[in-house]
């Protein structure tokens, strides 16, 4: 009996706990900006979202300096091989539930340099690698755009937090 209890305590957080924590996150998330080697186009649009015309602070979203305080990592850039260790470090520091918003065509699919020798090619290529290292990402959302408009970023945050259902769907038509 004691053995069973001990094993239960040492288990990783169960799915049920995560759901509860996620529900609490529905409103004001704190975001951490993670630049993995982008051209800065999407980064200045992220800063632009804070300025008066778009004013994301009306939703309570705040930009924080340390990943330890953050709920969401705003990832821009195609993840260059030199920046990859920093990405690992920063994502590890974010406490569970860990959410990542991949902003821009570089973060989603590697962008115009997806086949270069010094880029890994976007978030979807590293998710499995991070899982092997023990870094689980609980929810991901992808925001295409080059650079992604501030309105698209707000829409992306809403999709990430499950406030809106995504509009795009896979389509296959015959010519």
């Amino acid at each position: 009996m004691a053995m069973v209890k001990f094993l239960a305590l040492n288990q990783k957080p169960s799915g049920i706990d995560l759901e509860r924590a996620f529900k609490r996150l529905k409103r004001s998330v704190w975001v951490f900006h993670l630049n993995t080697g982008s051209c800065n186009g999407c980064d200045i649009e992220v800063l632009d979202v804070l300025t008066p015309y778009f004013d994301v602070e009306r939703f309570g979203i705040k930009l924080v300096v340390s990943p330890r305080h953050a709920d969401v990592a705003l990832l821009t850039g195609p993840i260059t091989i030199k920046a990859f260790p920093k990405v690992v470090r920063a994502l590890q520091a974010i406490p569970r539930p860990r959410l990542v918003l991949a902003i821009g065509s570089c973060a989603v699919g590697g962008g115009i340099w997806f086949d270069s020798y010094s880029t890994i090619g976007g978030l979807h290529r590293v998710i499995d690698i991070l899982k092997d290292m023990g870094i689980e990402i609980d929810r991901v959302a992808y925001v295409p755009g080059c650079p992604a408009r501030p309105e698209a970023i707000i829409y992306g945050v809403a999709v990430l937090l499950d406030l809106l259902k995504p509009k795009v769907k896979y389509r296959r038509v015959k010519a």
Binding site: V108, G109, F114, G122, Y142, P144, G145, C146, E151, P166
Partner: protein
């Protein structure tokens, strides 16, 4: 005595008021020229692949699936430059104002257009049916040569020429 001139900013703020556009409850700040997602008209597309050759990030690319040729559009890598719309000879690609493309499933960012391929007498499927029909319509070249794959076409052309010019039958 410090000159407190900078307090003027309060006046500026009050005069300006609020400029925030409360997206998503209000309409976003888009001009008529904005380039959003492209729409490919499957009726007009002939599968020539010109768009796949000019696309800088290769977001439009060709995939051969058995006897079908698929033109795949990966929205995730698109840079919204609209070069494909400029270069399409059939004007099948149009640019929309759509930017609300966020999703949590990356597989939903793909759009496919399937083309049937013409099969040569030798069995090789070499070009989309619509493209071959287009070439037959627009050029004066004989249809019986155009429905052959390039290798067979070469052989057939030499055969016919050598018969016509030299009287040699292969």
């Amino acid at each position: 005595m410090i000159r407190v001139k900078f307090v003027k900013i309060v006046g500026t703020s009050l005069k300006k008021g609020t400029v925030t556009i409360k997206y998503p409850y209000e309409k976003p700040l888009i001009t008529s020229e904005f380039r959003g997602k492209i729409e490919v008209d499957p009726a007009k597309c002939t599968g020539c692949g010109a768009c796949t050759r000019i696309c800088p990030p290769k977001a439009l690319y060709l995939v051969k699936e058995g006897d079908n040729l698929v033109i795949r559009y990966f929205i995730g890598r698109c840079i919204f430059c609209a070069m494909c719309a400029d270069i399409c000879p059939q004007k099948a690609i149009s640019v929309s104002h759509e930017f609300e493309l966020a999703t949590d499933d990356i597989a939903s960012l793909y759009e496919d257009i399937e083309h049937d391929l013409v099969k040569c007498a030798c069995g090789k499927a070499f070009a989309p049916k619509k493209l071959v029909n287009e070439v037959i319509e627009k050029t004066k070249l004989p249809p019986h040569l155009l429905t052959l794959c390039p290798e067979c076409r070469r052989v057939e052309t030499v055969k016919r020429l050598s018969f016509r010019l030299l009287g040699v039958k292969w």
